[in-house]
Point group: C2
Chain length 412, copies 2
Amino acid sequence: MLDAALADGTAERRCTFEVFARSLPHGRRYGVVAGIARLLDALPRFTFDDAEIAVLQSAGAATDRTADYLSGHRFHGDVVGYPEGELYFPGSPVLSVTGTFAECVLLETLVLSVLNHDCAVASAAARMTTAANSRPLIEMGSRRTHEEAAVASARAAYLAGFAATSNLEAHRRWGVPTTGTSAHAFTLLHDSEADAFRAQVDALGVGTTLLVDTYDITEGIATAVEVAGTGLGAVRIDSGDLGVLAQRARAQLDDLGATRTRVVISGDLDEHSIAALRAEPVDAYGVGTSVVTGSGAPTAGMVYKLVEVEGRPVAKRSSSKESRGGAKSALRRHKPTGTAVEEVVHRLDADVERGEHDRVVPVPLLVKGEPTGDQPTLEESRERLRRGLVAVPWEGLKLSRGEPAIPTTFLP
Amino acid sequence: MLDAALADGTAERRCTFEVFARSLPHGRRYGVVAGIARLLDALPRFTFDDAEIAVLQSAGAATDRTADYLSGHRFHGDVVGYPEGELYFPGSPVLSVTGTFAECVLLETLVLSVLNHDCAVASAAARMTTAANSRPLIEMGSRRTHEEAAVASARAAYLAGFAATSNLEAHRRWGVPTTGTSAHAFTLLHDSEADAFRAQVDALGVGTTLLVDTYDITEGIATAVEVAGTGLGAVRIDSGDLGVLAQRARAQLDDLGATRTRVVISGDLDEHSIAALRAEPVDAYGVGTSVVTGSGAPTAGMVYKLVEVEGRPVAKRSSSKESRGGAKSALRRHKPTGTAVEEVVHRLDADVERGEHDRVVPVPLLVKGEPTGDQPTLEESRERLRRGLVAVPWEGLKLSRGEPAIPTTFLP
């Protein structure tokens, strides 16, 4: 595409590409924007060195013309988009990329890879956060996804309200709080469960979390309190009928006088099983597979569509997968109480009435290839999502399948 | 875990960890091993530099003792495992890692991340290859998954029989054949569909694939042949009722005299829709989302379990998620015709009768941290899978849910 467009001169046409999701997966009520900071971080590094260009040429994937273009290529366009932690709905213009066709088309895969992955994880994680109802969630799914996706997943889960991750690299790169626990292997390594617990308490103090389900859970809890005393931080149960086991563990800990020892539950949890444990005496959840794989929706289904060429709206027309042409913005309308009621998507040049409780959702991210001022911190994005979820109508927080929390209206 | 084990001396105990899947997802009949080469490639780089260790220390995740250990750490153990392209079944000992507890436990996340991801993609891709029944498949899902997972996915799909990928980085790193096509954006960029087709044919020759469904498919095909002539390589249709559209496209191309122009179909295909198109005149399939997300099973569900400590078998005992202790190997039994009949998993030291058609599945991969001789090329692994699938009983190639293609027998 690039080569042919360079040859006939269309590569220089000024274009706007729009990122949006046609729908939300599995009848979910909202999506969560994540990955913007990763994208802004990756863009300056999205260049092609001589060795890479040589490979493209020898593979027949780049002519001399294309090689010339790629050499020294850097994105100099404008990007406007939803900030991280913002909610999105079907058709929300999550990102608008404007520049020459050449520079914009090159970004498609990078932009969509980052957003499709991170939004999928954050959207699932936010539902788990809601289901956990203020009990802390620990992301521990690194082993269940690609090694680099694991780092991004830990970040997206934290953005969506998780308390911490077991992924240390996510702490190093993005400052995500980390926590750890021990595995069954640590207990099995030792000559007895008591030896294992003693070693862990010696190293980490009595505030640690002991994994009590390697052999017999009742004996495990008794041993844990015997070794650590009633000041033990927490016990973790990773298998079995978790609701029943949490109740028994709580009762046993209370009987032993360890009334402040917390009960941490893990083992194939998702938003539904977390919700089902609401009435049980659980103090924290460890979540793995389901959060890093988007709980059944491992990709957010976002697309990157050319919507405008030299100021002229363009759109595919052949099928039900139609797109709406023209560069767009969006206004979120709210009641005076602060509850969101509508996502209004409109052409950039449209004259849209804006009430005092409405707000423009997209913000400038890059101008002529340069970041615009200060980007929000991960903590600020986390707070943005928290506030965004408060503004969602209560039906919009339901886990069941249904319509989006608010309707999207497309102005003509 | 590492710190506590270093403190009490158990870190030096000789351990074997085993990687296996308890079951196959969604009633699939077999799994495909992939990621071994990526893992062997990553292991020598799995070290900790001073800056990284400092971060761990400041995060409270490493004591001075652990920092000392990590500094200059390198894996010196032994790894035995199923080669890439090998089939696996529930309980197959896909990888056995032997060394000190410290060096083995550190590898858990890396090993599982690579194998859970790559095996998930390859296992889904192999089913698509079977469904396509020798018609070529093109992997084009990079945009639907994390940017690094995309590269690994392209490799895993090729290993599992796909013909090519659109991911150029997978070509650069792993030599995967690449191919490209144009997007709707390329057509929309131009003043007319004919202009777009002409630009593409000028740049890439008449052997190229023209995307004909941006506006009206019938007109698109007519324009494509008008511009490129009857020697046009292929037309691609990306949306709509693909079976019907393929028939119509074929008939129209034949009427126009473009009898050798191929019909390429894409658009949310998975193994089931590929199978459903078997009777239609389709020459190649482009597959995106479903292959890179494991077609509903984005993680292979492999676990990394401690099975032996200082020669003593160990296993978790508290629940249904039991493991079998002891370092193991596996023998695949075959009929004289070459059809596989049974996966026999046995303790390493067991005396197992081996028939003339049986073969030991695991091979040495690392000895004292060093790779053992030549590793198979990607082409050889691809051929291994091809042969492995020929040996599967015919019921084992069904796409429907059911039992594994061959039973796993665990010798006591």
